[in-house]
């Protein structure tokens, strides 16, 4: 931890206005209520929370899909404000996202090669042959084969699709990768493979991850820092060991208690209780 923060977020807020009917006033729903955090280069921040806690809204702001209502976001020293200035090519190359559902995040009518080459086509002046080589090299890097280049997404399993989605997201060599529940839709064994792949890529490209998840066991495995969100607020923020060993907020404690444990001792305890 060199204090070299690639992502600085200060007091970030996001409100949604829910349109009123003829007789009702419009309501304001705060999805994110003032969140601040830093992420150091090459590390992983895990954002934990349950549905509706604002973690996906946060992901959309960080990836410049939606604007923030208030607060500042600084990526690699540059402030972003898409409501005012839009997204420049340069900024787009710094942040990318991987979605939860690998079945929805790939265009069903686009062959894998085209999926991987699209970011290059739109953001660089690379000639076609070079783009193809880059895509092929990337396929290999994420553990797929060159013959997958010409296939359609539906010919792949969920885990393979997630590999493709990850490959697409790092085609432009981003600095920061937002991972929105990237392994939640995957089988256990595939989840392990994808987590390994993410670890490999982080090492190789010195990537910074914002890893959004509801699964504490995954978070504990992958995170350097953890932020727990509850109804739009960050109720707990600290290094992994601080949060897991000494949770302060009652919600964090509830969350930990509710997570199923697959170790022998807790099974023994449960069976003893059941027998009694």
């Amino acid at each position: 931890m060199s204090g070299d923060a690639i992502l600085k977020v200060r007091d970030l807020k996001r409100d949604y206005v829910i349109k009123g009917g003829i007789f009702t006033k419009p309501r304001i729903l705060s999805a994110v209520k003032g969140v601040s955090f830093d992420v150091e280069r090459g590390t992983t921040l895990a954002v934990v929370g349950e549905s509706g806690c604002g973690k996906s809204t946060l992901a959309r702001i960080l990836t410049m899909i939606d604007p923030a209502t208030a607060g500042t976001v600084e990526i690699d020293g540059q402030p972003i404000d898409i409501a005012k200035y839009g997204v420049s090519r340069e900024m787009r190359q710094k942040v990318q996202i991987v979605f939860q559902n690998p079945y929805g995040s790939l265009n069903p009518r686009q062959k894998i090669g085209a999926v991987l080459e699209e970011p290059l086509l739109l953001n660089t002046d690379m000639p076609a042959a070079e783009r193809r080589d880059a895509a092929l090299a990337m396929l290999q890097k994420v553990g797929l084969k060159p013959e997958h280049y010409g296939r359609y997404p539906h010919m792949f399993s969920g885990g393979q699709r997630q590999r493709i989605a990850i490959a697409r997201s790092i085609m432009l060599k981003p600095k920061l990768l937002v991972l929105d529940e990237p392994v939640s839709a995957l089988d256990l064994s595939v989840q392990a493979q994808i987590l390994n792949l993410l670890a490999d890529l982080q090492e190789e490209f010195n990537l910074t991850y914002v890893f959004i998840s509801h699964d504490l066991s995954v978070v504990r495995y992958i995170a350097d820092k953890v932020m727990v969100m509850y109804f739009g607020e960050a109720v707990e923020y600290g290094t992994r060991d601080e949060v897991f060993d000494n949770p302060r907020h009652s919600y964090t404690k509830t969350l930990f208690a509710a997570t199923p444990r697959a170790d022998v001792n807790s099974i023994k305890a449960r069976l003893a209780k059941r027998a009694a």
């Binding site: 349950e50 493979q193 495995y221 199923p260 697959a262 807790s266 099974i267 023994k268």
Partner: protein, 285 residues
């Protein structure tokens, strides 16, 4: 006599690419008062078997079994009428998507009442009382008021509670829960699992938990069947499964759990594949 006994069940589907064998000779036994977990990843056929028992598979499926008996009665030879009596009354099922499993056009109270109307001879007022009793049993606050709620007015966890109320409405002897908590948040999952176990312990019914989550298995099951690509890999009581898994696939699954991680990288099932693809059912012995 076991509650549900299935021997050598084979299910095949007709597909564009020819017949596909979803289940290849699996056996299950569930006793009254027992919690059996069927655990496997997608493509393991873990849901197919129970859908076959319930008769919920599409027409493209061919089902064969040496024995498929509920309380000693062969399900295959039952007349459709008797079968309907058994299924829905003595065996009931809850599914993964609670909100999608409820009909959005009718109130919760009406939908539970329908189940009672089909399978019991209760009068209208008795039914209404029973519905409230059921909602109370599954822990829905203010059941009288909730009767007239529509599914979209309730949260996912509450919808799953309603589904459970419907499933236990006729005091089934066997409840099949197909990934009952996969779509729910962790804290809600805990509540639903606790509820299912409490109901099971109170009524002494058999409970089959179909899941992909080893954590859920560890928290609920008495006995576990591990499946992989339509075949049964291992069957064991829950403690010995976690303490000393016999089949390489089970070992692989357990070591792929992030909480069991020891090194820098997780071991993956792929590392074990050569072992268990050559060693099929023998390891279950």
């Amino acid at each position: 006599m076991p509650l549900l006994e299935i021997r050598n069940l084979v299910v095949e589907f007709d597909t564009a690419a020819g017949p596909f064998r979803a289940l290849d000779g699996v056996d299950y036994t569930v006793d009254a008062g027992e919690v059996l977990a069927i655990v496997g990843e997608s493509g393991s056929g873990k849901s197919v078997a129970m859908l076959a028992v319930m008769g919920l598979l599409p027409d493209t499926a061919t089902i064969t079994a040496d024995r498929m008996a509920f309380e000693g009665r062969d399900l295959a030879t039952l007349s459709p009428k008797d079968r309907r009596q058994v299924i829905g009354k003595d065996i009931s099922m809850i599914f993964q998507e609670p909100i999608a499993s409820l009909n959005p056009c009718f109130t919760v109270g009406f939908q539970i009442g329908e189940v009672l109307k089909t399978h019991t001879r209760l009068s209208g007022s008795e039914r209404a009382a029973r519905v409230i009793e059921l909602l109370k049993a599954v822990g829905i606050p203010e059941p009288e008021r909730r009767l007239s709620s529509f599914p979209h007015q309730m949260s996912g966890g509450q919808c799953q509670r309603v589904m459970i109320a419907m499933a236990i409405a006729c005091s089934p002897k066997l409840l099949i829960a197909d990934e009952p908590t996969t779509a729910l948040d962790v804290t809600i999952q805990k509540q639903i699992l606790d509820l299912l176990l409490k109901l099971q312990a109170e009524s002494g019914m058999g409970l089959i938990m179909i899941t992909h989550d080893m954590g859920v298995v560890a928290e609920t099951a008495d006995r576990v069947v591990v499946q992989y690509q339509g075949r049964q890999m291992e069957e064991a009581d829950v403690l010995s499964l976690f303490e000393s898994p016999k089949h390489p696939y089970t070992k692989a699954l357990l070591s792929a759990l992030p909480e069991n991680a020891t090194g820098d990288r997780l071991p993956t099932v792929g590392d074990f594949r050569a072992l268990f693809e050559t060693a099929p059912k023998e390891a279950t012995a």
